[in-house]
């Protein structure tokens, strides 16, 4: 059950997207998102769709994998669509007592839904094709370029957080089993009793997280870790030809979106 969590999951591969420099991917993601938010017409969304499908095909990640990533968001997606459908003023195309659907609402709702889906898809694509270490390296470099003062520390925190997801899942399962052996029941009862039944799970889990954090900090300190100051790295990030090509592609996409929005 807990093993289904896919946040930050990485699928090793050897596609063009996998081989791109993490910095390229992060900056391209920024341009893609801006492009996505600039689009406001059917033609614009068609452009985004084509481009997104193109990237997915390049990445060799299966569509199924991406769809699974969307599953936990279905409530938000349904909510977005319904709210826009029923609450936008305009030409009415369907009405039943106070409920009415407008043409504008349908349009807005569909666009918003697509926007949400593409946002999630493209960000999952980033983590699916970039190993956590490469990703944090890239984030650190990008933040440094933006003169963010604690870039290295932020990146390190992210690495550690990602590193501990599987450990915490394992720990959760262990504690759950131990409490189930003492007759705890996590699956039945009403909302309140279910929430209450989580206490025997959460208290030990918090305690062990603090303990782990403490131990890790101690271990890092005893190996003289002192943040990013004058830190060098074994694997330097190097821009390659494909990276410049990727920038060109994503900038063309961005330009097309701008043109569609403001000059068409």
């Amino acid at each position: 059950m807990l093993k289904d969590i896919t946040i930050g999951q990485y699928v090793p591969g050897d596609s063009v997207i996998h081989r791109l420099d993490p910095r390229t991917k992060i900056i391209s993601l920024f341009f893609y998102m801006t492009g996505l938010f600039v689009a406001n017409s059917a033609a614009g969304y068609l452009g985004v769709t084509v481009f997104t499908v193109f990237i997915i095909l390049c990445s060799q990640i299966r569509f199924i994998t991406l769809l699974k990533g969307l599953k936990p968001l279905w409530i938000i997606m349904v909510l977005t669509l319904t709210l826009h459908l029923f609450l936008t003023e305009g030409t009415i195309i369907w009405q039943w007592s106070v409920l009415k659907i407008t043409l504008e609402g349908l349009r807005q709702g569909a666009f918003m839904l697509l926007r949400l889906i593409y946002l999630v898809t493209i960000t999952s694509l980033l983590t699916l094709t970039t190993s956590p270490i490469a990703l944090t390296d890239g984030i650190e470099k990008v933040l440094k370029a933006l003169y963010v003062p604690v870039a290295h520390e932020l990146a390190m925190m992210m690495t550690i957080a990602l590193r501990f997801i599987p450990t915490l899942i394992e720990e959760t399962e262990k504690i759950m089993k131990a409490q189930m052996a003492r007759g705890a029941d996590f699956d039945s009862g009403g909302l309140l009793s279910r929430a209450k039944s989580l206490i025997p799970l959460l208290v030990p889990l918090f305690l062990s997280s603090f303990r782990r954090a403490d131990e890790l900090a101690m271990a890092m300190e005893s190996r003289c870790y002192r943040g990013g100051e004058n830190r060098t790295r074994m694997k330097q990030l190097v821009m390659k030809q494909t990276d410049y090509f990727a920038y060109a592609v994503v900038l063309i996409f961005f330009g097309v979106m701008l043109v569609m929005r403001f000059w068409m």
């Binding site: 093993k3 052996a181 007759g183």
Partner: protein
């Protein structure tokens, strides 16, 4: 009356790249009143095996019986099974969560739906079994206790359910020598005086040699040996082949044999070793 597995196999994450056969065709019976040791290398499947006995894991194939009730059947009341088969996990103190020792130990019996007065009785009894003074510890926070006390509290939490079978997974891991001794003494006492059937999972050969009557050795998901402790340790070559040690005293006796001493090597405790060496020394003198 027994814990029984019948051709139990367990596959971890079937139909995925991570698929592994953790248990292969395990037939094991633990009879009522026995004190059985279960040893094996890390990853041999011993922790997976014991979780079948109270229904925390379901076998991929095969059947598990608790007192001749098939617990792999659908609709089995697992709560009742878990009351009967108490399970103490590795580092059980990590499961403590309540504000007071009393409340934590009472968690199990309360889950079983027991009346409050009876719960108090159970907690008192469980604390007595692990030598925690009821009046002194009842209202303390479990998190202020020492490592050994925490572990005893956690074990009391399982004992308070009044199980008939007690399964302990590495109960002495991470304790100092004194803490080890205390825990093991309590387990022996619980077995002898309360008549609980005990399954002790361990990879400390000295501990099992001293305590258990019967030893089950598991390697890569299969039972390699299942016989009286003394006979298992006589197979020291076979044990070494699967990366398992023999008790320190047994090793000592083997080394003495190598040096030409005429001592027996099927020795499991320091007392036995002492007696045997004394005997040989005296005989040696008699020869001279």
């Amino acid at each position: 009356m027994s814990l029984l597995t019948e051709r139990v196999s367990f596959t971890y994450q079937p139909n995925s790249p991570y698929e592994t056969n953790v248990l292969k065709d395990i037939n094991l019976e633990v009879k009522e009143g026995e004190f059985v040791g279960l040893i094996g290398h890390t990853g041999s499947g011993k922790s997976t095996l014991i979780q079948h006995f109270n229904g925390l894991l379901k076998p991929s194939a095969g059947k598990v019986f608790v007192d001749s009730q098939d617990i792999t059947q659908k609709g089995t009341k697992l709560k009742a099974i878990r009351q009967k088969v108490g399970m103490v996990f590795q580092y059980p103190e990590h499961q403590l969560f309540e504000e007071t020792v009393f409340k934590d130990i009472a968690f199990g019996p309360q889950n079983m739906g027991m009346a409050p007065l009876l719960v108090v009785e159970r907690v008192k009894n469980a604390m007595r079994l692990v030598d925690l003074d009821y009046a002194k510890y009842r209202d303390l926070s479990p998190f202020t206790l020492s490592g050994g006390e925490k572990r005893r509290t956690a074990i009391a939490g399982v004992l308070a359910m009044n199980p008939k079978y007690l399964i302990l997974d590495e109960p002495t891991a991470g304790l100092d020598p004194r803490g080890r001794e205390e825990i093991l003494d309590h387990i022996v006492k619980i077995h002898r005086e309360e008549g609980l059937t005990v399954v002790l999972v361990s990879h400390n050969m000295d501990d099992v040699a001293r305590l258990v009557e019967r030893l089950v050795v598991i390697n890569q998901g299969e039972i390699v040996y299942d016989k009286p402790t003394r006979q298992v340790f006589a197979e020291h070559e076979g044990l070494q082949k699967i990366g398992l040690d023999i008790p320190t005293v047994t090793r000592l006796m083997l080394r003495l044999q190598e040096k030409g001493w005429k001592v027996r090597s099927d020795i499991l405790t320091i007392e036995e070793a002492q007696a045997e060496i004394m005997k040989v020394v005296r005989e040696g003198r008699a020869d001279a």
